[in-house]
């Protein structure tokens, strides 16, 4: 039964080959067929598959299917299909090939059963996705892509070192519960944390995603961080540290999101915020919390994709993405506006939209386990999400002041991709049981009781009221063309600045030292020559070039002679 054991990344890598060598309608058809065929294949799999072979002394499991990995496998297929539909109009082989390879790498990583296989796909994720950033073909995207690549590869290297330590400590490479014990456990945790955009390791995301292409960002938002969430859920469930890290991730990005002008960067910050909810869930570690984290990852891939797609549509049609330059687009982009609002409602977790049915699980779990202050932080973050992603994104792009830009809705394929996502957001919101049935645990959770619905609706409506009040009173910070300093300031400005100053100081000292030595030497020589006429003559003696020629002749003659003797 080799068909069952065919890993999910294989069809995507073959699809990348197709994409490289075909063009036009044929390429589109083949690219669409790949995720569909692969998804059917995945759907028909038994609940657990283990492909193993021995490598050196270790048992490698390049393909392992269980409930947790299946969940991510499903959503990655959905994301890949939606992303491919969204980019059907593209005629850029680089992007199409790298998107296929990237999606395949994501699948390879979630179905990896050992740490070495995970490492390989971990690095492939970085190398294949960076082309989606570079494909923008601007100076900015080039440098942002470089920074992205360096950080991602660094994460991979730390993972490899951690794996080696882990293998030495535990004598196994199996990728299952690891925990924060030993050097290996900590190093792997840090590697996962970098890809998961933990605070202070988060700027690769807000730096690079907004610089990627219109379609590239849609792919990027789906895979990298979710692979990291999966890895944490697999290896560190119930690690209390994650609760605090996750809570920090939910709160700090929303402040940056409120004052950010680039609307895709606002979404990048809100992506960190959403991943924070998942990290909290993994940290709490109960069945309900893990279910919440995993299902929120599932939903986030879809609604965040939808939001990135709608902003991508705006960028594609207007060539602009800054809130300060947009506004009033609802007039001529009504379909995009409505689809964007559906995404916004989902991420804000309005009842009947997908975010609500998953986020509430994490919140309930936090309360149940007695994390009161964490729960308050999550509640604040929930209100904040609605504020910056739910209202700000649609408001400044489609409403607010009229920018005078009159562009039509984007091409049909883009609209279709957004419509599919929007449909899924609503379907999951209305009928969450479908989603719950594929979750790792059966908790019998029901999000639609009066308490939850009322509390969440109150929270959101009064957040909206605050937005209106602040706007009418003129307290709301206007969208301004600006750059806001974040942690990356440290490595983009401070460290290079310090290094530059340090090196210029070193060069200066070096130059001064050498100049000083040279002048001392000259001084010494002139002193000697002034002191003693004989040495001066000796030092300035000339040899005629004739004598040089003679000596060369002598050497050659000797050489000739020697060769005869020999």
């Amino acid at each position: 039964m080799w068909m069952i054991e065919l890993p999910a990344f294989v069809p995507f890598f073959i699809g990348a080959l197709f994409a490289a060598f075909t063009r036009g309608a044929l390429r589109n058809a083949l690219m669409l067929a790949v995720p569909i065929v692969s998804a059917i294949h995945l759907w028909m799999l038994p609940e657990s598959v283990n492909v193993q072979f021995a490598f050196l002394e270790y048992q490698l499991i390049p393909y392992r299917v269980d409930k947790l990995s299946l969940m991510f496998g499903y959503v990655f297929h959905i994301a890949a299909l939606i992303g491919i539909i969204y980019s059907l109009h593209l005629k850029d082989t680089v992007q199409q090939v790298s998107a296929m390879l990237y999606a395949g790498s994501g699948l390879g990583a979630v179905f990896a059963g050992d740490l070495l296989t995970l490492f390989v796909f971990w690095e492939l994720l970085a190398f294949t996705s960076v082309f989606l950033i570079w494909a923008r073909r601007t100076q900015r995207s080039y440098t942002a892509g470089m920074r992205y690549l360096i950080i991602q590869v660094l994460s991979g290297v730390i993972l490899l070192v951690g794996t080696l330590f882990y293998a030495a400590e535990n004598n196994t490479l199996e990728f299952s519960y690891i925990g924060l014990e030993g050097v290996g456990g900590w190093l792997i945790f840090i590697a996962f944390g970098i890809k998961c955009a933990f605070p202070i390791a988060h700027n690769w995301l807000t730096d690079a995603y907004p610089e990627a292409t219109v379609t590239g960002t849609v792919f990027l938002s789906a895979f990298t961080t979710k692979v990291a969430v999966y890895a944490l859920a697999r290896a560190y469930p119930g690690t209390e540290l994650l609760v605090y890290i996750g809570a920090a991730m939910t709160c700090f990005p929303i402040f940056f999101a409120v004052i950010e002008n680039d609307l895709r960067r606002v979404l990048a910050y809100s992506l960190i915020n959403q991943v924070g909810f998942m990290v909290v869930g993994i940290g709490i570690g109960t069945a309900l919390a893990i279910n919440g984290a995993v299902s929120h990852a599932f939903n986030d891939v879809i609604f965040k994709g939808l939001l990135f797609m709608s902003m991508g549509a705006v960028l594609h049609m207007t060539g602009k993405i800054n809130g300060s330059e947009l506004g009033g687009l609802y007039k001529t982009m009504p379909k995009t506006t409505i689809l964007c609002i559906i995404g916004a409602a989902s991420i804000s977790a309005f009842p009947l939209f997908s975010g609500f049915v998953s986020k509430s699980m994490v919140m309930s779990a936090a309360l149940e386990e007695g994390y009161d202050y964490i729960w308050l932080m999550l509640l604040f973050a929930s209100a904040g999400v609605f504020h910056h992603a739910g209202i700000k994104i649609p408001y400044f792009a489609f409403f607010a002041h009229d920018s005078g830009i009159r562009v039509s809705d984007p091409p049909k394929n883009m609209l279709l991709a957004m419509a599919i996502s929007a449909g899924l957001c609503i379907a999951i919101g209305i009928y969450p049981q479908a989603l719950y049935s594929v979750l790792p645990y059966d908790t019998g959770y029901n999000p639609y009781d009066a308490t939850h619905v009322l509390a969440q609706t109150q929270l959101l409506f009064f957040s909206a009221l605050a937005f209106v009040w602040l706007n009418l009173k003129g307290f709301y910070p206007p969208e301004l063309p600006s750059t806001n300093l974040d942690f990356d300031w440290l490595y983009r400005r401070v460290v290079p600045g310090v290094m530059q100053t340090m090196f210029s100081k070193i060069w200066q000292a070096d130059r001064a030292l050498r100049e000083g030595f040279k002048s001392k030497l000259t001084l010494g020589l002139s002193f000697i020559s002034g002191r003693d006429n004989r040495t001066s003559r000796f030092l300035s003696q000339n040899y005629p070039s004739g004598s040089m020629a003679m000596w060369v002749a002598v050497v050659l003659a000797t050489y000739l002679l020697l060769s005869f003797i020999h």
Partner: protein
Amino acid sequence: MKAEKKYLFDDPKNTKRVLLFLYISCALLVILDFVIHRHIAHDWENVWAFYPIYGFVGCSILVFVATWMRTFLMRDENYYDKQDSTKVDAHHVDD
């Protein structure tokens, strides 16, 4: 020049209607608090209109703090681009 088509929110009355809808909904939601019996999972939820107050105050604080953060975090749009170009210049001088 042709006069442009009137769109939905070109009429200030429609904006007012949306706002009115929001105000009424908010009022209704607070009233519902008295009607619907909620399961209380935490003492804080017993505070009168806990969620509405938390949402409103939370968001206001969020915006005020974020606005204040602008005073020391905001630079102009090409901040990093300029940095890159000065670095290149400096490099040439050193060479």
